[in-house]
Amino acid sequence: MNTSKPVNMNYLSTTWSIARYSLLENYKNRFFGLFIIFAGVLIYASLLAGVMAVDEEARVLADLGLALMELISLAYALLAAADAITREIRTKTIYLVFSRPVPRPAYLAGKAAGLYAASALMLGVMALIHLSLLYSRGFAAPPFYAKAVFFIWCKLLIITSAGLFISLFATSTVSAVAIMGILWTLGHFTSEAQFLISRSSGASGLALKAVAYAIPDLQLFNARDLAASAAAPPAAGFLAVYLLLWLTVPYLFSLLLFRKKEF
């Protein structure tokens, strides 16, 4: 008797249920709402900077809004990823989950998917607020807007995926957030890392290369900054593979760690 199909279906439906529950949990979290309100206030406060830029108001409003959207959704993603599983372990609700026939890979995939969806929801709401501001000032969204928002989400997916893995071995939520913050920062230092690599040699050069290559290159997804760049953009196929690898590998490492834990 072939049982692989029902097992796969069960795996998928469990993942879907956990993802949906995780998204709802995030949505009902009061910090989720507070972050969006805070973002809305800040985005509208950026009007002042726009007015100061006189004839470059459209550019400043677009840039400041996108940057605020990214930073605020990053702050939420860091906290949510660092706390998503550890909170359930701390509050022992995870025992309830695993008292049912829930496969661990499905639980982990569902948790990750819920966080990805929460980031998308947050970004979507903030983009609407931002676009309403741009339109109210008589400006259209810049041509790279949709790409910039989508790529912000891609960066959030990478950091969330890495964050879930980090949270499984970090000693506290704060240390997990700190490590993820450092990863985010280093991920944007590609130009500087390349410059440093070109200036260093020997063991230090090799060490620098190893570190630089092991860190996610978030600058590849920085469509916000690269809007008018003359350099050839990275190929979409490569970006898709790179993103997929950065989602899958931390997930698999998380799974290895997660399986060793006893619930």
Binding site: A49, M52, A53, V54, D55, E56, E57, R59, V60, D63, L64, A67, L71, P105, W184, T185, H188, F189, T190, S191, E192, A193, Q194, F195, K209, A212, Y213, A214, I215, D217, L218, Q219, L220, N222, R224, D225, L226, A227, A228, S229, A230, A231, A232, P234, F238, V241, Y242, L245, W246, T248, V249, L252, F253, L255, L256, R259
Partner: protein
């Protein structure tokens, strides 16, 4: 457990290869950090901008600072009979020692901010009579935007202005002024040169464009005033 272990190794290897591949295939589009020279006490702010991937936003903030710095008069000029300050003769003049370092800083952060590059170079050349500094700024800007024809045109216009050939300057600026990212200051210069050369109709049209395209109250006021003057001089302007 075994499947995960079998999958993780090749995928981790693929990820380890993707890092160097990305590094080698896609050169950084921005100037390296050593091109950014500290202006004032900007080091912390610059580091933050680089660390968070916010170079474009940092350039925007430096542009606002440049506008504010240049908008603060170094030399007080008496207002004209209407109580307003004359924009044309000697407008924007002064030493503004920090102007060039600030403009360089801005373009080192975001070399693709063309309108800021044009604004800074135009102000240096035409308002502050420092064409050599303007040329050096444009040459630096061209390193990262070698195909930017607007920089090349402005470079040529500044060259002719050094050679005291206002008609050629005006001709070159004319090709810039219809561009949406042309700074109002360049439009103003083009209108001024055309008016001086007796091309009243062209000057009038440029002032009209200024009225439609800028939000800067100084330039709007001046354009209205100049249009009124031109209307008095020549009735057939439209």
């Amino acid at each position: 457990m075994k499947t995960t272990s079998y999958l993780v190794l090749p995928l981790a290897a693929a990820l380890a290869m993707a890092g160097p591949w990305a590094f080698l295939t896609y050169p950084p589009p921005f100037p390296p950090a050593d091109r950014i020279r500290e202006v004032g006490q900007s080091a912390v702010e610059d580091s933050l901008a680089l660390a968070l991937g916010l170079r474009r936003l940092a350039a925007d903030l430096w542009y606002i600072r440049l506008l504010q710095y240049y908008g603060t008069p170094e030399v007080e000029r008496p207002p004209d009979e209407t109580g307003r300050h004359e924009l044309e003769a000697g407008f924007g003049g002064g030493r503004y020692r920090e102007f060039l370092p600030m403009a360089r800083h801005l373009l080192a952060l975001d070399p693709y901010f063309t309108s800021a590059g044009l604004y800074a170079a135009g102000s240096l050349a035409f308002n502050m009579s420092r064409p050599d500094e303007a040329l050096s700024l444009l040459n630096e800007a061209l390193i990262y935007r070698p195909k930017e024809w607007k920089y090349v045109k402005l470079l040529a216009a500044i060259g002719y202005s050094k050679a005291h050939d206002p008609s050629k300057v005006s001709e070159l600026l004319m090709s810039l002024i219809m561009e949406p990212d042309c700074p109002v200051m360049i439009r103003q210069q083009a209108a001024f040169l055309n008016k001086k050369a007796g091309n009243y109709r062209v000057a009038y049209r440029i002032y009209k464009t200024i009225l439609k395209t800028t939000k800067d109250p100084f330039y709007i006021d001046n354009a209205r005033k100049e249009m009124a003057k031109l209307e008095k001089l020549n009735a057939d302007l439209n």
